[in-house]
Symmetry: C2
């Protein structure tokens, strides 16, 4: 599929970003604006515009027509900027305090003008530095319940749900997930990236037929199950937080998919911390995993009981069936995320930043073993305690 | 959702249909054309245009902006004409001999100009009259395998599959199925239609909580599982046949849904005949049920082995898993069809045309009992013989 950059598309500079900021956001008439590009430059420009007098800041995010994930340029649809802004707006209808406000968008320029969140910290960074975020599990549990319930067939008229499912069709970004999470790490493929001391562990995965069959089923679920409007990439690097606030950003992978995918990806990224931490610090993470699920399940159940539009909402066992499916799906998806972040193309700093080679290797092996167990036992997971038990087993 | 009729839409008359025929199809210059409206007038006009000299005939089908299903007018999207024509074209790429050729379409007028099939008979009518169609099970088995494989993630690049899924979004027609097959018959609702002597049998269904839970799951599958481009309404009234030919018509309910739905609906409509027939005549139908499945499964498996684009295509057990899911889904969907055609809004002539009240009542009770058993045992169906065994049990 060839991707063409619209002729009107032009990469912003700090100067043009300031000019644009003035047209879309009401600064004081005489405001002196400064601009800094603070993105990592791999996928997007992120311009932070500041009124030097008042300190008021906004963000202009611009998608680049390529990605640098594999070392070189890889064309990538600019439509993802529109998807991202529209997911933020749609999810913002249900959890306004948990996502950044969107002030303006321009589809041709692939830009989103939005709330600045630089007073918060990226959760992954904070966790790696040993910090904890006391509101995180409750906020993300509610974020998951509210955004996913309200965009599902339980919360929406079927006409509106199908309209949204078509609007949020996101083939290019889904393909990245299909390849990088559900396919490549399970085959001996060039783009996989792992340390030499993991060679035999990686080979064990590539030759595990039972594992591959379960991954094939999980991939099928990702490809076909249009349950709700997902964030699509809900790892701890997609969450800003402080001690008092949580904001979910970057839903450019948003699409209609299986609810368990958002849940599972987030849990997996906490699981990395449950692998690298010890003692009380670890217990905080284990508690967060449990609480994220409990809050999600109870909030989802409350919405179901109060607001479901489904005729079978009162059918005995149906809510339990739906939540049970989310949990088994999430367990399997979490397993795929653990494996792909360890031997696939895109890693996590939680593991890679550990300098001691022996420790790092041991953690990575544990991540692989945990991932394998979650995938193989996913369908038997009947409660969050079962999932937590799998984590403990893999530490032995 | 309000449906507006485009201002350029105009119901055809026999005269304007002839004029239109001349502009879209090459008849001989001096051809004398006659026209007859042969539709049942509930949903569509069907004009048959004939060249009186050569006998050459074509069909112009025009969607009406309303349906008369419930005795009065019910606004119904005209877009269904475009969906129907595009499904015929898409499926025609894979099974050109099993669907009518489409010569032309006009979206504004909601018309499809297509091959005339009046030399064939509607399968339901033929079966009710005791006829058999020796090619039917093999042709439908292949139709199902080819159309569903080639529009699934196993047969298509994910970009193309997602493009088609969005193109064939069909909310209005899906809603009819969601209500009439998966909801209303399982609740005591005014629009249900059943004979007084079925009162207690109907009430038994409305109070069967286990049954409702399984139906809720099947409805969820219909609402969310975007596996392949379905026909969407594949009953025996949607198939024309003779001793040597089979043509599937009327895919206006087409959308991306679970593969087992097309399979299950067709099997259910054969099952009505397995209920009303006796002895050798019945055995022909039982054999057709078995053969439809066997041909579908073996053709689908052959396509999988030769043409699948899925990376896990060679993973041991994956094809068996996919076919197993189609069968369990199909069994449950067939059960819903049996029940809704017996006590729901839209009936089948197979049962309703039986004049003897005692016989008719007994058959209808058997249809309900069979439907119930198929739904409750659907998930345990491991082979087509298991399904056939359920039919035998329900006759006892």
């Amino acid at each position: 599929m060839t991707l063409t950059v619209p002729t009107t598309y032009k990469a912003l500079t700090e100067a043009t970003a300031i000019a644009l900021a003035k047209t879309v956001y009401t600064f004081d008439h005489a405001a002196q604006l400064t601009c800094r590009e603070i993105g990592d430059g791999n996928l997007n420009y992120v311009f932070q515009i500041e009124d030097t007098e008042t300190g008021k800041r906004i963000i202009i995010k611009q998608a680049l027509p390529y990605a640098k994930i594999i070392g070189e340029s890889w064309p990538l649809t600019l439509k993802r900027a529109t998807i991202e802004a529209n997911v933020l707006r749609k999810h913002g209808e249900f959890v306004p305090s948990l996502v950044p406000a969107v002030y303006a968008t321009d589809e041709e320029l692939a830009i989103t003008v939005m709330e600045d969140l630089s007073h918060l910290e990226i959760v992954r960074e904070g966790l790696i530095n040993g910090q904890n975020f006391p509101r995180l599990s409750k906020d993300i549990g509610e974020y998951l319940a509210l955004t996913l319930f309200h965009t599902s067939d339980y919360g929406l008229h079927p006409f509106e749900k199908k309209r949204l499912a078509a609007e949020f069709s996101n083939p290019e970004l889904c393909k990245i997930t299909e390849d990088l999470i559900f396919t490549d790490p399970f085959f001996d493929i060039d783009t996989n990236d792992y340390e030499p001391q993991l060679q035999s562990a990686a080979e064990a995965i590539w030759s595990d037929r039972k594992l591959q069959l379960e991954v094939a089923k999980l991939k099928k679920s990702f490809l076909t199950e249009s349950e709700a409007l997902l964030h699509g990439d809900l790892h701890t690097g997609s969450v800003f937080a402080s001690q008092t606030e949580t904001k979910v950003i970057d839903p450019e992978f948003g699409f209609y998919g299986p609810i368990g995918f958002d849940v599972g990806l987030f849990l997996a990224n906490l699981i990395f911390q449950s692998i690298t931490r010890e003692g009380e610090n670890r217990q905080v993470i284990v508690d967060d995993i449990g609480k994220t699920w409990e809050v999600f399940a109870s909030s989802f159940g409350e919405l179901w009981n109060k607001q479901s539009v489904e005729s079978f909402r009162a059918t005995e066992g149906y809510l339990e069936y739906v939540l049970g499916k989310v949990l088994t799906d999430a367990t399997g998806f979490a397993g795929c995320e653990l494996i792909r972040r360890t031997i696939g193309l895109a890693h996590v700093k939680d593991l890679d930043s550990i300098e001691d080679t022996e420790k790092r290797t041991s953690f990575k092996k544990q991540a692989l073993e945990t991932g394998r167990a979650l995938i193989l036992q996913g369908q038997q997971t009947a409660s969050i305690d079962d999932l937590l038990e799998i984590l403990e087993e893999a530490r032995k």
